[in-house]
Point group: C2
Chain length 141, copies 2
């Protein structure tokens, strides 16, 4: 134990982030996590914060962001040369995306809550509140 610097094998990162080892390598090929240093044997050595990065990827994916979009999100600060105005623009755009998603979730939640209330009141559930709550909203592509 020469260096006590925290470094993890691919398998450990994968277990901590709850994804597969193959997926780790896939993300590396896709440029979502950078190619880590290697031991003499060729084994990857990850810094421990990689786990957070992978968890982030996992969560963002669950929110409907594509790997391409996630890459963009992660690279917002990555390039140190990038003009601040540029970063700002892109970040603001992402915030808009997020606000739209949040709003849709809020409406879905409201609809489901209504459904639950109807069920508790033991009244017949004939109409679909999920649809009803969304029906008036126009989409802005």
């Amino acid at each position: 134990m020469e260096t006590k610097i925290e470094s993890l094998t691919i398998g450990k990162v994968a277990r901590l982030a709850e994804i597969g080892v193959e997926t780790m390598r896939f993300y590396e090929r896709e440029g979502l996590i950078e190619s880590p240093p290697r031991r003499a044997s060729g084994y990857r050595q990850y810094p421990s914060d990689t786990v957070d990065r992978v968890r982030f990827i996992k969560r963002a994916k669950a929110l409907g962001f594509s790997l391409r979009e996630i890459k963009e999100l992660l690279s917002l600060r990555a390039a140190p040369r990038t003009k601040c105005t540029d970063i700002r623009q892109r970040a603001l755009r992402k915030i808009q995306d997020i606000d739209e998603k949040t709003d849709t979730l809020r409406r879905m939640r409201k609809a489901l809550t209504k459904l639950v209330a109807e069920c508790e009141g033991s009244r017949p559930v004939t109409e679909c509140p999920i649809l009803a709550s969304l029906s008036t909203q126009k989409e802005k592509p």
Copy 2:
């Protein structure tokens, strides 16, 4: 013009919901929208509320719900025989999912806002607030 009942062709629904005609038929095959009545010619005749249903599908997809999950969401009220307690259970479960997603979005938004603030202050952007804001969160699978 015998019947003034609002009914739309597949193409009209598709245009209104901003998806492709092929996708409409795909969703029908997958059971996400029910097989509508047909004219003598075989042409599908959709009631106008189908547009809302399709828009809902589109939005839910953008939030990371799979078609299977969306089908579940849409069928919560669909089966009138379903026990209320059962519907309630499933709805509550979905609300949990939604709350988790909302929370992640909230944190992402906060991180991006911070990033924007840093850019406005024209300070160097060295750290990645997106990751930082998520790093302390443990995942609950």
